[in-house]
């Protein structure tokens, strides 16, 4: 049994939030550079991608948030079952890390009551997902999730008859219907299978995979490739200005499902992919 104090988790969340909101992931930055080079010179698409690369440099140099939507603080915690958590409650520690980071680093507080719309003023609560895993370590992943893209996400409860074609169509349709609204080029996190809720979680979890990585299952990886190719022939382009880059990647995760169903969740992420991980 290994003891980890929840204050250590609070401090880890604080540092992850700081690092995540101030920089794009290296894989995302590289993908944007490739995309900018591929767009036609003097096009609005190229102008927007070049502006975004300039923005990422300014953010890094001046320690400013890359995007003002510093997001809903989504945290995936994989907790080894041999870990004994001591100190205060885990959820409180995570929220305290978020609260301190969003205040100290001038991040926007974007969480409010769904009906009264009154802002909680400190960006809490975090969306904390915990999973118990083998071992004696804790892995924390921080994904500040902007809602311009979150709003464009969809969940399909397909019939098994729709199969692989239905899955690809659902991914492409989600991006087509989103159009220029979610800040394309986007990244699609896709959950395939599970139940209604597991499917949506898988879509979110898929977004924490590095851009450019492939699902180890070849039949799943081929869905990722085909959906990406079809999305990039939609012509929406960066910011919806037209062009060849509408998505930077499609990342799929699967789970067994019921014999009667084929859930597919598509979680849209804007080009501002920010994600940081640490293992305690």
């Amino acid at each position: 049994m290994r003891r980890i104090h929840t204050e250590e988790i609070r401090d880890a969340v604080y540092k992850l939030a700081q690092r995540a909101c101030l920089s794009l992931t290296p894989a995302c930055r590289a993908a944007m550079q490739t995309a900018a080079a591929a767009e036609k010179s003097d096009s609005a698409a190229k102008f927007s991608l070049e502006t975004l690369l300039k923005n990422a440099d300014i953010a890094a140099k001046e320690q400013m948030p890359v995007c003002q939507d510093t997001g809903y603080a989504v945290i995936l915690a994989e907790i080894g079952q041999e870990v004994f958590l001591e100190g205060g409650f885990l959820g409180d520690a995570v929220d305290e890390g978020v609260r301190r980071a969003y205040s100290d680093f001038y991040f926007r507080k974007s969480v409010c009551d769904p009906l009264t719309r009154v802002n909680t003023a400190d960006n809490t609560p975090a969306a904390l997902h915990t999973e118990i895993v083998p071992g004696d370590k804790i892995s924390l992943t921080f994904l500040p999730k902007g809602f311009g893209s979150e709003n464009m996400s969809r969940l399909y409860m397909l019939t098994p008859a729709k199969g692989r074609t239905g899955i690809v169509d659902a991914i492409v349709e989600t991006v087509r219907l989103a159009g220029s609204r979610p800040c394309p080029p986007v990244i699609c996190g896709v959950g395939i299978g599970g139940t209604f809720d597991i499917c949506a979680f898988l879509a979110k979890k898929a977004l924490t995979r590095p851009l450019g990585s492939q699902n180890p299952r070849e039949d799943v990886a081929s869905i990722e490739r085909e959906a990406l190719e079809k999305i990039n022939s939609l012509g929406i382009g960066p910011q919806g200005f037209g062009g060849s880059t509408t998505a930077l990647g499609v990342l799929c995760e699967t789970a067994p499902t019921h014999i009667a169903g084929l859930p597919v969740a598509v979680n849209i992420q804007c080009h501002c992919m920010r994600c940081e991980k640490v293992i305690l």
């Binding site: 300039k54 953010a59 948030p65 890359v66 919806g240 804007c270 501002c272």
Partner: protein, 174 residues
């Protein structure tokens, strides 16, 4: 790039064409979902507004807090489509410009032409770059809404693309 002064003159609005890139300088007011809802409720009840948007440009944005030494924190555009249900009413009562990101509804496009206004697309996600182009910031209404309140910004060389012009040109109809 063409330089455009805000508030917009009628001649400027007439000269802008969808697809051209511009650098905006001058005054803008911010407004997001909650501020728009409140403005329209005040118009409904005949309550005087704490500011006048006639002839002005509204920037759909909610800034990060300003760090020491800066007028404003990161502040890129938010999705304009969420303001589509309010925009025609504001355009009919004198609003001349909008800055945001993404396509607009058919009704907003018609209203832009009818009221001789313009919609600029800022580059979504370029929060740090736009934050630096904001030289002065003053919270002028609805402080309880925090970042969703109405700010008056003085902006300088703020890069945008003319997205929908007063002649019906639309960059999103490609």
């Amino acid at each position: 790039m063409k330089k455009v002064k805000l508030p917009l003159s009628e001649e400027t609005i007439q000269s802008l064409r969808a697809g051209e890139s511009v650098l905006l300088s001058g005054t803008v007011l911010t407004g997001r979902d909650c501020a728009h809802k409140r403005i329209c409720e005040m118009l409904d009840s005949g309550t005087p507004l704490p500011f006048d948007y006639k002839g002005q440009t509204i920037y759909y944005a909610g800034p990060c807090p300003a760090p020491r030494g800066k007028a404003c924190g990161s502040c890129g555009p938010t999705t304009s489509a969420r303001m589509d249900s309010f925009a025609p009413r504001l355009l009919a009562t004198g609003l001349k410009g909008m800055i945001g990101k993404g396509e607009r509804s058919e009704e907003v496009c018609k209203s832009i032409v009818k009221n001789k206004a313009v919609y600029f697309a800022a580059i979504g996600g370029a929060g740090a770059l736009y934050g630096n182009a904001i030289k002065k910031s003053e919270l002028i209404a609805f402080p309880d809404l925090l970042s969703e309140g109405v700010y008056k910004f003085e902006i300088e060389d703020f890069p945008c693309i003319v997205a929908i012009d007063c002649h019906g040109g639309n960059i999103y109809s490609h």
